[in-house]
Structures are given as C-alpha cells and as structure tokens.
Symmetry: C2
Subunit: 190 residues, 2 copies
C-alpha cells in the first residue's frame, strides 16, 4: 500500500524533531531510482538539516497562498529540514518533468519514514541562491520543506469547482479534490 492518501502537503511541523541523515539520504535514493527523461538525471539536491541555515532558507519562502491571514508556520513549527532541487545546467539544458517525478518520490518516501512535507514553488530564488552560495550552473527549481507534521489535513470532495484549500476553526486544513470520474475524460474499451 503506497501512502498516497497520507502524503498531504504539510506546512506545520514539530520543529524539534530532526530528520537523521540516513533518512534524508533514503529520500534522495527514492529520487535517484525514479524515471528521468532520456535518463539524463540533471537534478541535484542541496540538503539542509541544520537549524541555522534552515532559518535563512525559511525567510526566502512564501507559504499557502490561499490562507491570506497566515504568514507561514511560527517558530517551533517550522520545517526541520529542506531538500532543494537544483537544475545542473552542465548536464542538460532542461529537465522535462523530472522535478515533479522526483519531488513526489521524495515526499512519498518521507511519509513512509514517518515525516511529511510540502513542495514550495514560491521562492526568492536569487536570494536563496546567494545564501546557499550556489555556482552559476545550478538553478533552484523548487524547495521541499520537510519535518514531522503537526497538523491534520483532510481531503474533501470539490464543490462548484472551488479548489482552494482552507482551514476550519479547529485548525484542520481542508483540501478539495476532484473525483476520479471528473479526472477521467474518457475511458475507451474497444
């Protein structure tokens, strides 16, 4: 049973629960064993598991666009690790859909190990690139925030096409998902 349902986008964590290096390496191994367009494997990873650098990375990220009154996880609920996807332009000029494939592998492996995370695309890339001291041939793709989840996320049926996630008064995070029937445009058996 692959934990697709348990693999929600988590944005609040037990910040003091660190992720051991061996587990972070298992996540990279999951990415490594994933399909890569023409098998080129042009994505590299910057891992941060240290509190000092984590704080700097945190400041370059924007959280949960639909939750207008929420500025992101507070002190103590922030990610305990980050895996930053980098495009190695020395290897290939593009990366096709490898970034999505590997992000999903990393998150599924994280959940399987008892953690969880969130893909963050809203990143101050230039600022973060300077913080990480990246060479010019490595571009930041997305940032995966990771930790031990400290929130409940539930899946709801989508209503009237409104896909915006929201939080109820008990701080439960609701995510409206389309049905399997809506996703299947056509099913041909002939």
């Amino acid at each position: 049973m692959i934990p697709f349902e348990k693999n929600r986008s988590y944005r609040r964590f037990y910040e003091d629960v660190t992720i051991p290096e061996i587990d972070l390496r298992k996540m990279i191994d999951a990415a490594r064993l994933s399909p890569s367009s023409r098998n080129v494997q042009p994505i590299k990873y910057f891992i941060s598991a240290g509190a000092e650098l984590n704080k700097k990375i945190f400041k370059t990220l924007a959280w949960a666009g639909y939750l207008k009154d929420w500025g992101g996880p507070k002190e103590g609920e922030q990610p305990s690790a980050y895996i930053i996807q980098l495009h190695d332009k020395n290897i290939a000029p593009g990366y096709s859909c490898d970034h999505g494939i590997t992000a999903q592998s990393i998150l599924l492996e994280a959940v399987d190990l008892g953690y969880g995370g969130c893909i963050i695309a809203s990143v101050k890339r230039e600022e973060l690139s300077q913080i990480l001291n990246l060479p010019a041939d490595l571009d930041i793709i997305n940032v995966l925030a990771l930790g031990k989840p400290k929130e409940t996320v539930v899946i709801d049926d989508i209503k009237d096409g409104d896909y915006k996630y929201w939080r109820d008064i008990d701080e439960v995070h609701h995510v409206p998902k389309r049905s399997v029937d809506e996703l299947i445009f056509s099913f041909n058996k002939i």
Copy 2:
C-alpha cells in the same frame, strides 16, 4: 516499502494480459491524491484499454531513443493500456510540475498492482489528438504506456557520466544511474 526500485521504465509487455478497469481507476485515484500546484488539478486523463484504439495510439509513439536498432515493442509485446495525460486549459493556463508528480504516482501504483509502464514524451500529438477526437481545450501532455512487463531491467552504476541505457545480448535492459553521493550537491548540518 514503496516499490521505487521495481518501478523501472518497461517497454515490452505481455500484450494479452489486460488491465481491469478497477485497476486503471486505482491509478487515477493515486494521481488524484497527489500534490497539485495551488491545488488547481488541471490534468485530465484519457484511458485506453481496448485493443483497437491501442493499435492506433501505438502508431503515434516513438520508443527508447537510445536503442537505434529497435523500432519499439513488436506485436504481442505492446502495451495493453494507455493513460494519456491531458492539460485542461479551461481550468488553468499551466500545470507546473503536476504532470511529473501524477505520472510517478500512476506508475508506482501500477507496479504495486503487478503491472509496469513507461512515460512517453515523444508523441505525434496532433495526430493522436485527432485519433482521440479531443476538443481544442485539451492538450496532450505525455502518454503512459502500461501492461504486464515482459523484460528485465537492471540498474547499473553510471560510468564516466554516460547515462544512455542499453541492452545486452540476453535482452536485459541496463540503466546507468548516478549515485546518491553524486546527486547530493551539498549536505548542511549547521
């Protein structure tokens, strides 16, 4: 244990082993439960599990670019089903990395159910769009070929940066993968 290692790109199948509708729907459910950028969920799916349409789809695909002497799977070893990813432009103008995320979910679920497949990006999209009679607001992203694998695929360590897959004289398919250490550009613990 998530079957990352068993989830290889398979291109030869037992064509007579069909995939029941319930299993194909489970694969769509895996995609459904996957992260979606801003939770917009703009990818729809055309499923073909019928021999007649499968033959037509097959003719629009190019297989295994590095195997110059191989024109793709022969009669009897072709996919028994296809899941075609479609971008529903009515929902959103783009789809971020959703296509990679959902492709990986579908393939992992396929492997978990005893099947396997391959993401095919080399597609005659205009021709296939006509065959499927798609409306103008649905664009073909990629085609996932699926079936019961009829080949052995092994992972090798990459040598001298040569990432091209190849087949040995016993028809075993070899895929050179970078090491975890090569993929990790930096690991910060401070």
